[in-house]
């Protein structure tokens, strides 16, 4: 942000640092361990009066000097050069913070060099005791230089208390200092053995050669005991986030960890060959392999350590993109482009959007990512739409904590998403779609005062969605539930619960759902149910009898009606004819019609790409379904895509418990609603009802627009009852947290509640079984003032029986019978014909409104009533029904 960026789009600055640093570290550890090896072997040679061995020490010293002083020394300066170029902000900070540590290290360097030069050039020209003293001094100074750099390197990973105190000593002697120091000392000794084997293979005398093989193999192997123990210590000292990212969440670590494990095994395997007498050419080859393996080992370790530190370059202080943690708030407010000194563009406008995105990409992303090289951004984003890219950027640092959060305003985020999608991936700018919906007229069934019965019917949820790509996965099958109550009219109306048969039948064109969806083909594999085609999971077909229910009502569960008609059109509001007949005589007592709302407009493709499966805005395309499985596999380490490719479509609730379909799931896994909402909340932050619209069929321009009741026409959004997505997720997560599920803590961590202060203020809720209730906003059944925005969030009922859709009043009449299905409460405005959801009110009153409204108690009571019989505040002067849009815009 402060400094200009060196553009290396394909190579990546990080790769350059890695190459220079790993080669340096490999040789530098040798420079330390080899020093001890030299002096100890010299002592041994002199004590045993072994001139041959001493000769080896002499020649090994020359090799040592040429390798460590030239290559080792200069690559060390090389690291300094390259980090100053690729990450000047952090380098400047470390230089200023630790200047005298580095100055101290320099004293050790110069003493080291002088010692080594003397040790080599005066090998035979000094008293043995003095020469050995020089040897010891070399090793001591070399180890002390490791001591110093270890402090600074460790500080970057575990600054410890320095973050609060800014104290030099606490920063230097940080939490990982001692484990890392011992760990690296072990490495140094082992690598000494590695290089000792090289020079040993050049010896002409066989016996001496074999002796040195044995000696060096001991140097190679024994330190691994130390390395293994301190590795555990090192791991234990990591901050818990770093450890979690390293061991679980950051997929980038896998290849390096694998390299580390493989090279460890190879080191042992190749090392062992030196204990056996083998031809010299073979051993020269093997030693070459061993050294390469050692370099690979070093790369594996150093890379793993680097990854543990992400998203920071200095943990808790500065992110890898050089933005300071403490600057994030002001950068987000002011804008990144305005805050960045070297940005060509200072503000996003309509004209420069893509160029602004380019700047943002350069300055925030290219510090770690490349275009087509290591850690490639292209392949990581190709499965998203522009909206999805925006969402992914929102989620950075939130769920994927090894990433720094995006720094900048909402416009800047959009510009970056647009740039990545339109310039890098060459995609078109997204177009908003407006579904073409054909309205249909509905014939309202007749009713007059001679009718003895009132038949009320409604859908249980007011909306049912189907995950329509069952070849890949499923979590919502075709399954609509209809309720009915039959009331005998009179001064004392009666709810009839016996002696009648309630028949239901869907209108023409919907009777063969198996022709349009693959649900039945896959039902056995996904739902474990052997179903006849056209029959739902509770045994009900598209026509049949409703079953009695304890609420003096009748119910037909899980009717598999779908929105695709035989003539190829789409209508998510198919009509059912409900007929009540006398059980004995067969006489028709009452008949009505009701909508069974059923939509396949699941908006996964809004972010996950792929288009629609059917006719432009319905169903889930194969590509979308695949993209989703691939994401799940990548993040969770599952093999779902493999299962699907082997012919086994996946039921999400196999692992994720779900009361909606009665699935028990796996105990340690979050339930489905928590997982899907809690996860996506990280990506769709700071939104209102538009977050819901991205997935649920509630998009106003879509082909369903399921939120269509009275509340919707007053300007309420999904979020007014269910809470904004973060809150919605947190309430579910908090419930799961009570069962100690491991992922609950991670999901709740970076979600900020929107309508309450803290997570502690969130009331936990079970999905499907706990929702807000009328009384949550309409205290005492009062009409609510429009002065303040309502919220049902945090006001959950206790359980399923207290839900609006499951309740009756004291007379046994279910709430929904008069007020309508949830989301379509009377009066509703339906996209496919304004009064499609208001059939029964129009039939019985005829006013599109709550049954009995505006003095129409006579629908059931056959006369006017003067008392609030069913609940408080029924009889009062109402405003005119269907008043012009006085919609208040609530937040």
């Amino acid at each position: 942000m402060n400094y200009p960026i060196w553009e290396l789009p394909s190579l990546g600055g990080g790769t350059l640092i890695a190459i220079i640093a790993v080669t340096h570290a490999f040789v530098a550890h040798f420079a330390v361990g080899g020093g001890l090896f030299l002096v100890l072997t010299e002592i041994k040679a002199r004590r045993n009066n072994n001139p041959q061995l001493l000769g080896y020490v002499r020649s090994h010293t020359k090799f040592f000097l040429l390798l460590t002083m030239v290559f080792g020394g200069i690559t060390g300066v090389g690291i300094w050069f390259i980090i100053s170029l690729v990450q000047p902000a952090a380098t400047s900070f470390l230089i200023h913070q630790f200047v005298f540590a580095w100055a101290t290290e320099w004293v050790f360097f110069i003493a080291e060099i002088i010692a080594l030069l003397i040790y080599h050039y005066r090998f035979d020209k000094m008293n043995p005791k003095d020469h050995i003293a020089i040897g010891w001094l070399y090793f001591i100074f070399a180890w002390l230089s490791l001591f110093v750099i270890n402090g600074i390197l460790g500080f970057m990973l575990t600054p410890g208390q320095w973050l609060e105190t800014r104290d030099f000593w606490q920063g230097f002697f940080n939490p990982s200092f001692w484990p890392a120091l011992v760990f690296r000392t072990g490495i140094a000794l082992s690598i000494a053995g590695m290089f000792g084997l090289i020079t040993a293979t050049f010896l002409k005398e066989k016996a001496l050669r074999q002796y040195l093989y044995t000696l060096n193999t001991r140097w190679l192997f024994f330190p691994f005991i130390l390395i293994a123990i301190t590795a555990l210590w090192y791991l234990a000292i990591l901050p818990s986030d770093a450890e979690a990212n390293l061991l679980r969440f950051n997929p980038a670590v896998k290849p390096y960890f694998t390299i580390w494990v493989i090279t460890t095994a190879l080191i042992f395997l190749t090392g062992i060959t030196f204990l056996v007498k083998l031809p010299l050419t073979f051993q020269r080859f093997t030693v070459f392999i061993l050294v390469l393996t050692g370099l690979g080992w070093m790369a594996g370790f150093e890379y793993t350590r680097e990854i543990a530190r992400k998203p920071y370059v200095i943990y808790g202080y500065m992110y890898s993109n050089s933005i300071k943690h403490s600057d994030m708030d002001s950068v987000n407010r002011t804008g990144f482009l305005k805050s960045a000194k070297w940005s060509d563009i200072k503000e996003v406008t309509a004209d420069n959007m893509l160029d602004a995105g380019n700047e943002l990409m350069r300055m925030q992303c290219l510090s770690c990512h490349t275009l087509g090289g290591n850690n490639d951004i292209v392949s990581r984003t190709s499965h998203l739409t522009e909206r999805g890219m925006e969402a992914k950027i929102t989620g950075l640092g939130s769920f994927s904590e090894y990433m720094p959060p995006f720094a900048g305003t909402g416009e800047e985020k959009e510009a970056l998403a647009a740039y990545i999608m339109r310039e890098i991936h060459g995609k078109e700018a997204p177009e908003s779609y407006q579904a073409k919906v054909k309205e249909e007229t509905v014939t309202v069934p007749p009713f007059n005062d001679n009718n003895k019965y009132v038949l009320l019917a409604w859908n249980d949820l007011g909306m049912h969605c189907i995950s329509d790509n069952s070849d890949y996965w499923s979590f919502l099958p075709p399954a609509n539930t209809l309720w009915a109550q039959l009331i005998r009219r009179g001064p004392k109306p009666q709810v009839i619960s016996q002696g009648v048969e309630i028949h239901y039948e869907v209108e023409e064109g919907y009777r063969h759902p198996e022709k349009h969806v693959d649900f039945w083909k896959n039902a056995q594999k996904t739902y474990g149910a052997d179903l006849e085609t056209g029959i739902g999971l509770a045994g009900k077909g598209l026509a049949g009898s409703m079953d009695p229910h304890t609420h003096q009502a009748y119910i037909a569960k899980l009717i598999p009606v779908i929105p695709y008609r035989d003539d190829g059109t789409y209508n998510p509001y198919p009509l059912f004819e409900i007929t009540a007949r006398d059980e004995n005589t067969g006489e028709t007592l009452a008949a009505t019609k009701v909508v069974a709302p059923t939509s396949t407009e699941m908006g996964c493709r809004n972010c996950h790409q792929g288009g629609w499966r059917v006719n432009d805005y319905s169903g889930i395309a194969d590509m979308t379904a695949e993209n989703i499985l691939n994401v799940h596999d990548r993040i969770e380490g599952t093999q779902l895509m493999y299962e699907v490719e082997s012919g086994n479509p996946v039921l999400c609730q196999r692992c994720h418990a779900d009361p909606a379909i009665g699935a028990a799931g796996k105990k340690e896994v979050l339930n489905f609603s928590t997982a899907i909402h809690g996860f996506h909340a990280h990506y769709l932050k700071e939104m209102n009802g538009d977050a819901c619209n991205l997935c649920h069929p509630s998009m106003p321009s879509g082909n369903t627009q399921c939120l269509r009741g009275r509340h919707a026409s007053l300007g309420l959004k999904c979020t007014h009852c269910h809470g904004k997505l973060e809150d919605h997720g947190l309430a579910l997560i908090k419930n799961e947290a009570r069962f100690g599920k491991p992922r609950a803590a991670k999901l709740s961590k970076n979600l900020q509640p929107r309508s309450v202060e803290t997570f502690a203020d969130v009331v936990p809720r079970q999905p499907w079984l706990q929702e807000p209730d009328c009384i949550s906003c309409h205290t005492n059944f009062d009409i609510r003032s429009r002065k303040t925005a309502p919220t049902g969030f945090n006001n959950w009922v206790d359980g399923s029986n207290s839900l609006y859709r499951n309740r009756t009043d004291t007379h046994g009449v279910m709430c929904a019978a008069c007020h309508g299905a949830p989301h379509a409460e009377y009066y509703a405005i339906n996209k496919y014909g304004e009064d499609r959801d208001n059939i029964q009110p129009l039939q019985y009153m005829p006013i599109a409104g709550t049954i009995g409204t505006k003095g129409n108690c006579k629908v059931c009571h056959t006369k006017e009533m003067e008392v609030n019989g069913h609940h408080r505040n029924m009889l009062k002067p109402y405003p005119r029904i269907k008043e012009p849009a006085e919609t208040t815009v609530f937040e």
């Binding site: 402060n2 200009p4 040429l66 020394g73 200047v99 000094m126």
Partner: protein
């Protein structure tokens, strides 16, 4: 406008004078050694191609080790005082700047090859020295270039056209005179080094010793004469307010520059007279004089935009004390080790 692109500077632990003095001291040491290896390589190269023996050339690898090592402290302290300028100019020159590292590795190994292969493969040996010398000239060029670009934020606009770091700032007016001034200066000091080598080391025949010593002094004299011309060119290529600073603009600066010129002339005089000890004393003082002028120039360039005196100080003195203690111990240990070199070996 410019202030907007100059990155914010980080705070320093103690008063800036600590770093300024340390910078000048360590730079002096680095410069002396660098002159020996750069100038020395060029002189040795000349000698070897002229088929003359050049035993002093054998010390080049060891001197390279020390030069690199002593390059670390000034690089450290310049980053402490001027880091926000230095890192920026480095990024603008990133491509050739990072090439310094592999080039230095080849230079260093080249010097060893020169020494090791002198008798067995003289051609290979000479070519190695040639490559090493050319590479040293490149490294010097990059160091001069970077240190110049850091002074001129008004030229940093090149970044808008060139973000990939392959930039050499060749249109900077002070670049060539500054570079030549340092190269010729290196030859001059290396000449003195050669004279010193023959002053201390007994070589047979004694005539050769005296001859080479005098040659060294002559190289110094001749190169320094050229330096006077290049020096004036360099001086006048600086921006007007800055060269005027040394021409009456500032009393101390003017006095110091005049002193430098006088000393230079004195040095030429003593060198042509063959007076080794006098010349080397004058040369040392001359180097100190020039380094201070260079630093004054730097402060004049950055006046207002980035004076080190404006840096925030954290007051963290503990690490300074640690460094000073370790430094003293280090000096003592080095002294001890060097003493061991001169201890006669018992049989």
């Amino acid at each position: 406008m410019l202030a907007q692109v100059i990155p914010a500077a980080d705070a320093i632990p103690v008063n800036w004078w600590w770093f300024q003095i340390l910078l000048l001291l360590t730079f002096l040491l680095h410069l002396i050694l660098m002159n020996f290896i750069l100038g020395g390589s060029l002189i040795t190269l000349w000698d070897t191609f002229k088929k003359k023996p050049a035993p002093e050339g054998n010390s080049i690898p060891t001197l390279i080790a020390l030069t690199i090592n002593l390059g670390v402290p000034p690089l450290l302290f310049v980053q402490v005082l001027f880091g926000n300028f230095f890192y920026t100019s480095s990024v603008l020159l990133a491509g050739p700047w990072i090439m310094v590292i592999p080039v230095l590795i080849i230079t260093y190994y080249g010097a060893y090859i020169y020494v090791f292969k002198k008798t067995k493969s003289p051609v290979f040996s000479r070519v190695s020295l040639l490559i090493a010398s050319i590479f040293m000239l490149f490294i010097a060029f990059m160091l001069v270039n970077n240190n110049t670009l850091l002074l001129t934020p008004e030229r940093w606009g090149i970044y808008a056209e060139n973000k990939s770091g392959w930039f050499l700032n060749l249109s900077e007016p002070t670049l060539w005179p500054r570079y030549l001034h340092f190269i010729i200066g290196a030859v001059a000091i290396a000449g003195l080094g050669k004279a010193g080598f023959y002053h201390f080391k007994k070589v047979t025949p004694p005539d050769l010793q005296k001859q080479e010593k005098q040659r060294g002094l002559k190289i110094f004299a001749f190169a320094t004469m050229i330096q006077v011309v290049i020096g004036i060119w360099f001086w006048l290529s600086l921006p007007e307010p800055i060269w005027k600073h040394f021409m009456g603009g500032n009393t101390f600066a003017t006095f110091w520059m005049m002193l430098g010129i006088l000393i230079t002339l004195a040095g030429i005089f003593t060198a042509t007279r063959g007076l080794f000890v006098a010349t080397i004393s004058i040369a040392l003082f001359l180097m100190i004089n020039m380094i201070i002028i260079r630093e004054i120039v730097r402060h004049q360039y950055l006046k207002g935009a980035g004076a080190p005196s404006a840096l925030a100080v954290t007051g963290e003195t503990g690490s300074l004390i640690m460094f000073l203690a370790v430094f003293l111990i280090g000096i003592a240990m080095i002294y001890y080790m060097i003493k061991l070199i001169f201890k006669p070996k018992h049989t």
